[in-house]
């Protein structure tokens, strides 16, 4: 929905905190569970998503006055798909090891609700530069949440961070942290803690 004139800093703050796509809007959950087993994977995934969300929203916004209303979603998906394919090809060409570890999840960025949500919810009715900032901010918000989950999962699951051994021999790795259930628990914990400590204004009633 159009929100009137929001300055750039307000947009950034909104994307990272007030309307964080993961713990406020509950969007993009699937990838939040899947890629958070290793911090490096999460960061690359996050950067990919920031890039795609930012540029998709920018492009959708640039075309907003020309795109017929009835086909706007087809156009949005096409634009998102194009940028995701570019990210996928770039990873395969320059970071093949990480591309292999992320596997299908890079392609699945197309289906990530956050991008479509921003394109339909903001970029289609707002000017290009704020749309770009909003897209980047939402992507950064997503990345920060995932990075905090991945930090715990990798540290407790393998004793490493970004591949470097941090915990010594004394630590018995929690194998469950490497497996999908830990993604569920970790994400649920983050949502619970943040919304418990910082409830949205409506929830206080």
């Amino acid at each position: 929905m159009p929100t009137g004139r929001l300055g750039n800093w307000a947009l950034i703050r909104r994307g990272i905190w007030d309307e964080n796509p993961v713990f406020r809007q509950l969007l993009g959950i699937c990838s939040a569970l899947a890629v958070t087993n290793l911090l490096a994977n999460t960061l690359v995934m996050g950067l990919g998503l920031i890039f795609v969300t930012g540029f998709s929203c920018l492009t959708v916004s640039l075309l907003r006055t020309y795109t017929p209303f009835r086909i706007r979603m087809m156009v949005q998906v096409l634009i998102i798909a194009v940028y995701v394919i570019v990210v996928d090809l770039t990873l395969k060409a320059y970071l093949p090891d990480i591309s292999e570890q992320l596997g299908a999840y890079v392609g699945l960025i197309i289906t990530n609700c956050i991008i479509m949500g921003r394109a339909e919810g903001y970029a289609r009715s707002n000017p290009p530069w704020p749309s770009f900032i909003d897209g980047l901010a939402m992507g950064i918000g997503y990345t920060l949440v995932l990075a905090s989950i991945a930090f715990v999962r990798e540290l407790m699951g393998t004793g490493t961070l970004l591949g470097f051994q941090v915990l010594g021999e004394w630590w018995t790795p929690w194998i469950i942290m490497v497996m999908p259930p830990a993604g569920f628990f970790g994400l649920a914990t983050v949502i619970w803690v943040v919304r418990g400590l910082f409830p949205e204004k409506e929830e206080k009633k």
Binding site: N37, I71, L78, V82
Partner: protein, 210 residues
């Protein structure tokens, strides 16, 4: 508000133009990056082959240098049964015969290479290059503790099979540790290895006849 004929035509035309423009963009990016991508795919396979024959190369070597080394040190041989590689040392002598180990894993295709010392019929090393097994479980086939089990193992004779059995259980000469919690992957890999061993024995027989 009805859709007029003109509105319909504009809509279709718009979608067409958008599709052409954006698809051309993606096609261009693909054409530009495809050489690099293919080089990476090939480099990963070659690295697996080198690992299987214990041929040490620098880490993080660029793809084109890896291809240079492949040209110098690997000679591909096609037979009816299989494709295999002769691994050549620095003097041009055959150090190893490397055979592909491939088949259906628990989730998807698994591809690896096993290196054989042709002089004493022992296994040099096993290396997996591609798989989609469960991280933390089946994916552990790539870990060193698992592949190291195969080093210096004698190639099983005709009629003998390799088995991957539960860790800790008593083992015969052709039994190795499976991965705890990854029975499916372990069984699949054992099958692949036995098929490859059949190929290896057949090729060695052929070569000795000459």
């Amino acid at each position: 508000m009805s859709i007029t004929r003109k509105g319909q035509i504009v809509t279709v035309l718009y979608m067409l133009i958008i599709a052409v423009v954006f698809t051309s963009f993606v096609a261009t990016v693909n054409a530009l990056l495809n050489p690099a991508i293919q080089a990476n795919v090939r480099a990963r396979e070659v690295q697996g082959i080198f690992r299987a024959m214990d041929f040490q190369i620098e880490e993080d070597l660029p793809a084109d240098e890896i291809e240079e080394l492949a040209k110098k040190h690997l000679k591909q041989v096609r037979t009816e049964r299989t494709v295999y590689y002769c691994g050549l040392g620095y003097q041009g002598r055959i150090m190893a015969l490397i055979f592909p180990v491939e088949g259906s894993g628990f989730w998807g295709p698994v591809v690896g290479y096993i290196g054989i010392n042709p002089d004493d019929r022992t296994i040099i090393n096993l290396a997996f290059t591609r798989h989609t097994e469960t991280p933390g479980l089946g994916a552990r086939i790539t870990e060193q503790w698992f592949t190291d089990q195969f080093r210096r193992m004698a190639l099983p004779e005709e009629g003998e099979t390799m088995r991957l059995v539960q860790e800790g259980k008593p083992k015969g000469p052709n039994d190795l540790d499976a991965i705890t919690g990854a029975t499916g992957t372990s069984g699949a890999v054992a099958n692949m290895l036995n098929t490859t061993c059949d190929n290896i024995r057949a090729v060695i027989r052929e070569r000795e006849k000459k």
